[in-house]
Assembly symmetry: C2
DNA sequence: TCATGAGGTAACCGTTTGGTTACGAAAATA
DNA sequence: TATTTTCGTAACCAAACGGTTACCTCATGA
């Protein structure tokens, strides 16, 4: 098993679990009720998320509350942001693609 | 085969290919020489990247030049940026975690 | 004390993944 | 024309994935 953050978020179910837990910490069964698959399947997904630090589990009575650790997504954010100027308007403003360099010097 | 961008970047070799092609478009063999695996293995990875739009391939003589389409990473960037304020200092300054709400009202 | 509910996990299964070797097509070159 | 180079891909393989059912432990509540 590879089990890094990139592999963890590759599965759509696991991304949904992350979204779900971003709103509130939930017991395992509560998580499972949001999906059309059995609890063991969700348990496995949670295991993967736990292994790579994306969730923590707090025991409370007979329930296990799952909490997402969103800061673990920083690695992914950092990696994609290297290339962000290829699609973000913020880093690559529209005007820079329309006005030739010579004209821009005059503007300054 | 699922073949979405999240699954494409799950593999470390494919992430390296993306980094490599971010500098320059390269023929398939040139890509393969950067890795310790056979050309068919790289060819398969390129196929996956091609299928989900992360690279385009331009035929030139007997060579196929691979170009990365970094804007396809926008989907990933968008997804992770939802949660960015959980690790970015810019969006969640240190002071907001230290001063209680009552005190902050006075500050305004 | 006994039944119930929460949840982990083993065993199993079909499909996918990520690699290999072997082969063939097309372009370039001798 | 014959050979070499670039590349795709088929066939194969072991391991990982993503799901299931079955069973177990432990805490709760009647």
């Amino acid at each position: 098993m590879r089990r890094d953050v990139f592999q963890a978020i590759a599965d759509p179910t696991r991304r949904q679990i992350i979204s779900l837990l971003a709103n509130a910490s939930l017991p395992v069964n509560a998580v499972a009720h949001n999906f059309e698959m059995t609890r063991p399947a969700i348990s496995k997904h949670l295991r993967i998320l736990l292994d790579c630090g994306l969730v923590t589990i707090r025991k409370e009575g007979r329930e296990r509350y799952c909490t997402v650790v969103l800061s673990e997504l920083a690695e992914v954010g950092k990696w994609v942001s290297q290339y962000q100027h290829f699609w973000s308007d913020f880093q690559e403003p529209y005007i820079s693609r329309r006005i030739p360099l010579k004209r821009r010097k005059e503007d300054l």
